[in-house]
C-alpha cells in the first residue's frame, strides 16, 4: 500500500527540486505525446530544448531567448507579488495588450515628430499606465463589490483582444498601409523604436527593464516592509490584517503593479520585436507568465530562470513547427503540461511517499 505522509516541515530540497523534476517529467510525457503524433520523440525533444542553444543556427536563436524571455519575466514578476498575497490576476494578457495600444498610441499621435528623449519615455509611461488602468477594473470591482478578480481579469482579456482588433482595423491603421490592417511600424520610427542596444545580442530596453525589475522585486520581497506584508497577506490573511495591512489596498497595489508591468512589457514588444499594432499582436505571454511565475517558485531569481526556459520552448516550438511540421497546439500543450506536472510534483514538498505492507491485525 502506498501512503502519502505529511512532512514535519516542507522540504527545502523538493521546493527547488520539483521544478526540475517537472521539466524532466514534461520531457518524458511530451515525448509520449509527440510519439503518438507520429514523430520521433527524441528528435522533437532535442529540437525544442537543445537546438535553440546548440544547433548550427544557435547564433540566431540565442538572442531570441532574451527577446521572448523579457516580457515573460516582466509580467511574471508582477504576477508573483499578487500570487504571494493571494490576489489572482489571470488577465495579464489583456493588460499587456492595452499597454501596447496606449504606448503605441502615444507614438502614432506624435508621428513623425523627432524627439526620442521625450517620446520613448512617454510611451513607456503610457504603456505602464494603460496596463495599470486595465488591471484596476477587476481590482476596484473586487474591492468595491466583492467580485472575483480571476473571472473579471480573465474576461477582460477577450475585451482587450476586441479592442486590439478594432485599433488595428480602425483608429490606428497605417494610412500608408494600402488598406491592410495594422499600424505603422514603430521599429522604423527612430523616436519610438525599441531597438537592440547591442547589435545581435537581443538586448533591448525591455530586457533591461526586466533585469531591473528582478533586482527590485528581490530587494522588496526580502527587505522592504511591503514585501513582508505581501508574504504575510498570502500566508495568513488574518495575521496580515492584525499587522496593519489593509486588504483592499493590498489588492489594489498588487493588481496595479502586475498590470503596469504587463503594460510595459506590451509596450516594449510593440515598439520593438513586433513593431506594430496588429490583430494577432498578442501571442499568449500573459498566460505563459503564470506558468513562469509558479515554475520560478514566485521567487524573482527563479522567475528569471523559468522565463528563460519558457522562452526556449517558444523558440524550440517554433523550430519544431517549421522543420518537423508539429502543430502549434502541441507546443501550447507542452507548456500547459509543465504547469500541470509542477503542481503534481509539488505534493512532495509537503508530503513524502511511504510504502506500507498491509497491516495484519
Amino acid at each position: 500500500m502506498i501512503v502519502l505522509e505529511k512532512r514535519e516541515a516542507p522540504s527545502r530540497l523538493w521546493a527547488w527540486g520539483s521544478p526540475v523534476m517537472a521539466v524532466l517529467l514534461t520531457m518524458v510525457l511530451g515525448g509520449l505525446l509527440f510519439a503518438a503524433l507520429g514523430q520521433n520523440p527524441f528528435t522533437v525533444i532535442r529540437t525544442i530544448f537543445l537546438d535553440p542553444l546548440f544547433s548550427e543556427f544557435a547564433w540566431f536563436y540565442r538572442p531570441q531567448i532574451l527577446i521572448k524571455g523579457a516580457p515573460l519575466v516582466l509580467i511574471a514578476i508582477g504576477l508573483s507579488f499578487g500570487f504571494r498575497a493571494g490576489v489572482w490576476n489571470i488577465g495579464a494578457e489583456g493588460q499587456y495588450i492595452v499597454g501596447a495600444i496606449c504606448g503605441a498610441g502615444v507614438a502614432l499621435a506624435l508621428y513623425p515628430m523627432d524627439a526620442r528623449w521625450l517620446i520613448f519615455p512617454t510611451m513607456v509611461l503610457a504603456g505602464a499606465s494603460g496596463g495599470w488602468a486595465w488591471a484596476m477594473i477587476p481590482a476596484l470591482l473586487r474591492v468595491r463589490f466583492g467580485t472575483n478578480e480571476i473571472l473579471v481579469s480573465l474576461m477582460l482579456v477577450y475585451v482587450a483582444e476586441q479592442l486590439l482588433a478594432a485599433m488595428a482595423l480602425g483608429a490606428m491603421r497605417n494610412p500608408e498601409g494600402m488598406g491592410f490592417p495594422g499600424s505603422r511600424n514603430l521599429s522604423q520610427y527612430p523616436s519610438a523604436a525599441n531597438l537592440e542596444l547591442i547589435s545581435g545580442s537581443g538586448m533591448h530596453w525591455g530586457v533591461v527593464a526586466a533585469l531591473i525589475t528582478v533586482i527590485f522585486a528581490y530587494v522588496t520581497l526580502s527587505r522592504h516592509v511591503f514585501g513582508f506584508h505581501v508574504r504575510l497577506a498570502g500566508q495568513a490573511p488574518r495575521a496580515a490584517k492584525f499587522a496593519g495591512v489593509n486588504p483592499a489596498r493590498m489588492v489594489l497595489i498588487c493588481m496595479g503593479l502586475s498590470g503596469a508591468l504587463a503594460g510595459a512589457a506590451g509596450l516594449f514588444e510593440v515598439a520593438g520585436p513586433a513593431g506594430q499594432i496588429s490583430i494577432d499582436f498578442n501571442v499568449g505571454y500573459g498566460f505563459t507568465a503564470i506558468i513562469v511565475a509558479f515554475l520560478g517558485r514566485l521567487h524573482p531569481i527563479g522567475i528569471m530562470a523559468a522565463g528563460a526556459l519558457m522562452a526556449l520552448t517558444y523558440i524550440g516550438g517554433g523550430i519544431a513547427q517549421s522543420s518537423l511540421g508539429l502543430p502549434a497546439a502541441a507546443i501550447n500543450l507542452l507548456q500547459g503540461m509543465l504547469l500541470f506536472n509542477l503542481l503534481a510534483v509539488d505534493v512532495f514538498t509537503t508530503y513524502r511517499i511511504r510504502l506500507l505492507r498491509k497491516e495484519v491485525t
Partner: protein, 507 residues
C-alpha cells in the same frame, strides 16, 4: 469492590518517534465515574481514541467484562457498548435535533420514533431538548446534549466524555453533572476527561493521571488535594500568581457605549458596551466563546473600525485609528487564534515578531525592515518568556501551543503596552505555561499597565482580575469586584443556563 467493566493492560501507541501512550494500564468499574487527567499532549486523546476504535494500539490488551475487546472501528466499539461525546461537536447546523441523531446511528429507526425516544431520554435524564429544533439555533450546552442523547440512545455501558464543560456555563455544568451521576447510579460507567481539578473532585470517584503518555498515579479525587493532583499532572511544583496591592491609576481605556454590527452571518453584534479600565488594573471579561469576544477584540485592536468616540485611550478617541496607530499610542492586543491570526504559521519567529512590533520597536528604516533588530527582539522574547524553541529562525507552527502562546503574549508585553487586551490567554496551554502567562499579566499590571483579560476559564479570571464582567450575546454586564464573587453570581451574570426552569432530573 465493584465489578470491572473495562480493563486496559500495557497499552502502547507510538506515532513515528513520538510515543503517545507508553504501557498504560488502568480499569474502570461498572457504574464508576472515572477521571482521566492530564495536560494537553499527555496522551488522553490517543487513549480514548483507542478505546473508541479510532486508533489501533501497537501493543497491549483491552478487555470488556473479562472478554477481549479489540474494536476494529467506532461502529464495533459502539456495538460493544462504548459511547463517546467529543469535545468538538459533529452536528449539521441546518438539520433538526432528531435528524442529526438519526444520521449518527448505525440502524436508524423512523424520525418519528426517534423524536419520541429523544423526548423520553431527555426527560429521564433532565436534559431538556426539543427534537424538532434546528441545531443552528441551539446554544453550545444544548448541542452537547444532542451529542449525549445520541450516545444514550445506544444504551452504552461506557460513556466517554472529552472535556465536556469547556463550553458550558456553571449552571449548565451542574445540570450535566446531575445527569452523569444519575447515569452512573443506573450502572453506566463514565470515563471523564478533563484538566479542571475542581470538577473532577466534585464528580469523580477515581482518577488516573497521565503525564507524557504514562500513568503517573491513580487516586481518589474526593480525598486528594487538587494541588497535589495538579503537581502530579504537571510533574513540578506550581507557583500561584502573586499580586501586589495596586494604587488607583488614571483612566487608561474607556468604551463609551460601543456598538458594532456582526461582521459576518455567524458573528455576534456588539451592543452598547461600556468599559472603564484604569492603569494598574486587571479587568476580567468572562463568557462562553461566540458571545462577541472576537468581535470585541477586533474593535479594540483596530481591525474593525468603530465610532471614533466610542473607544477612548487615555481620553483620546481612537475608534477610527488603524491598528498600528493604536499600537503607537500603546494599545496592544493578543487575539485568541494563535496560528493564523496572532502569528503566521509558516513564518519564522523573527518574522512573527515583526508582525506587531514594527511600530513600537522601530524595526524599520525608510520602509526597510531591519531583520537583525527583529531577530534580536524575537530572541529577547524567547529568553524572557522561556519559549522552548531552538531559535528565532524556526517557524511559529513548529512550537507547541503553550510555547507559541508565551511568545505571542510576550511579544506584546515586551513592547511595554499602556493597555493590553488578551483573548483566551491560556486556552489549550499546559498548566506550567498558563501559570507563567498569568504571572506575566499581573506583573504588567503592577508596572502600571491596564490589562483586559477575556477568557472562558472562570477560575483563571477569579485568580487574576480586580473586577469581573460577563459578555453574553454581545452585551457586557456591569463590572463587579472579583473578590468575593460566588460561582452562582457569576453564573447569573453570564445569563444563567438555558432552560433552567425545566432542568430537573426526574427522580
Amino acid at each position: 469492590m465493584r465489578d470491572t467493566l473495562l480493563n486496559i493492560a500495557g497499552l502502547t501507541k507510538a506515532y513515528g518517534s513520538v510515543v503517545a501512550n507508553r504501557d498504560v494500564s488502568f480499569s474502570v468499574g461498572v457504574g464508576e465515574i472515572h477521571a482521566l487527567l492530564g495536560e494537553n499532549g499527555a496522551g488522553k486523546s490517543t487513549l480514548v481514541k483507542t478505546i473508541y476504535g479510532l486508533v489501533k494500539p501497537d501493543s497491549g490488551t483491552m478487555s470488556m467484562r473479562g472478554a477481549p475487546f479489540v474494536p476494529a472501528d467506532p461502529a464495533a466499539a459502539r456495538k460493544a457498548g462504548v459511547g463517546m461525546v467529543f469535545q468538538h461537536f459533529s452536528l449539521f447546523d441546518a438539520l433538526t435535533v432528531a435528524e442529526n441523531i438519526v444520521l449518527g446511528m448505525d440502524n436508524p429507526p423512523s424520525p418519528r420514533a426517534i423524536a419520541a425516544e429523544v423526548r423520553r431520554v431527555s426527560d429521564q435524564y433532565g436534559l431538556p431538548l426539543d427534537p424538532d429544533q434546528i441545531v443552528g439555533d441551539l446554544s453550545a450546552g444544548e448541542r452537547q446534549r444532542v451529542e449525549i442523547i445520541r450516545c444514550l440512545l445506544q444504551n452504552p455501558k461506557l460513556l466517554i466524555m472529552d472535556e465536556p464543560t469547556s463550553v458550558l456555563t456553571p449552571q449548565e455544568v451542574e445540570i450535566l453533572f446531575k445527569t452523569l451521576r444519575k447515569l452512573a447510579a443506573e450502572g453506566t460507567s463514565i470515563l471523564y476527561i478533563s484538566h479542571k481539578l475542581s470538577e473532577i473532585a466534585a464528580l469523580c470517584e477515581a482518577a488516573t493521571i497521565l503525564r507524557l503518555g504514562q500513568v503517573v498515579a491513580t487516586c481518589d479525587p474526593r480525598t486528594t488535594a487538587p494541588r497535589e493532583m495538579a503537581e502530579l499532572m504537571v510533574g513540578q511544583v506550581l507557583q500561584s500568581p502573586v499580586r501586589a496591592a495596586r494604587p488607583e491609576g488614571t483612566m487608561a481605556l474607556e468604551l463609551t457605549g460601543l456598538s458594532a454590527p456582526a461582521p459576518h452571518r455567524f458573528g455576534t453584534a456588539l451592543r452598547d458596551i461600556r468599559i472603564a479600565v484604569r492603569a494598574g488594573e486587571v479587568l476580567g471579561i468572562g463568557g462562553v466563546a461566540g458571545n462577541g469576544q472576537d468581535e470585541l477584540v477586533a474593535v479594540l485592536s483596530g481591525e474593525t473600525p468603530s465610532d471614533n468616540d466610542a473607544v477612548l485611550l487615555d481620553g483620546k478617541p481612537v475608534g477610527r485609528s488603524p491598528v498600528n496607530a493604536r499600537r503607537a499610542l500603546g494599545l496592544l492586543c493578543a487575539p485568541e487564534e494563535r496560528l493564523g491570526h496572532a502569528a503566521a504559521p509558516e513564518m519564522s519567529l523573527t518574522e512573527n515578531a515583526a508582525v506587531t512590533a514594527i511600530t513600537r520597536k522601530s524595526l524599520t528604516q525608510n520602509g526597510f525592515v531591519d531583520w537583525s533588530k527583529a531577530r534580536a527582539f524575537a530572541s529577547a522574547v524567547i529568553a524572557q518568556f522561556d519559549v522552548r524553541t531552538p531559535g528565532p529562525q524556526h517557524t511559529a507552527a513548529s512550537l507547541s501551543g503553550g510555547n507559541l502562546q508565551k511568545f505571542v503574549i510576550g511579544r506584546e508585553i515586551m513592547q511595554a503596552p499602556r493597555v493590553l487586551v488578551v483573548n483566551q490567554p491560556t486556552w489549550g496551554v499546559d498548566a506550567a505555561a498558563a501559570a507563567a502567562i498569568r504571572q506575566a499579566l499581573l506583573t504588567l499590571a503592577d508596572e502600571g499597565a491596564a490589562v483586559v483579560v477575556i477568557s472562558q476559564d472562570l477560575d483563571e479570571l477569579m485568580e487574576i482580575s480586580d473586577r469581573f464582567c460577563a459578555l453574553t450575546e454581545g452585551r457586557l454586564s456591569a463590572p463587579r469586584p472579583a473578590r468575593g464573587l460566588t460561582v452562582d453570581q457569576i453564573g447569573m451574570m453570564l445569563g444563567g443556563a438555558h432552560d433552567m426552569e425545566v432542568a430537573h432530573v426526574a427522580e
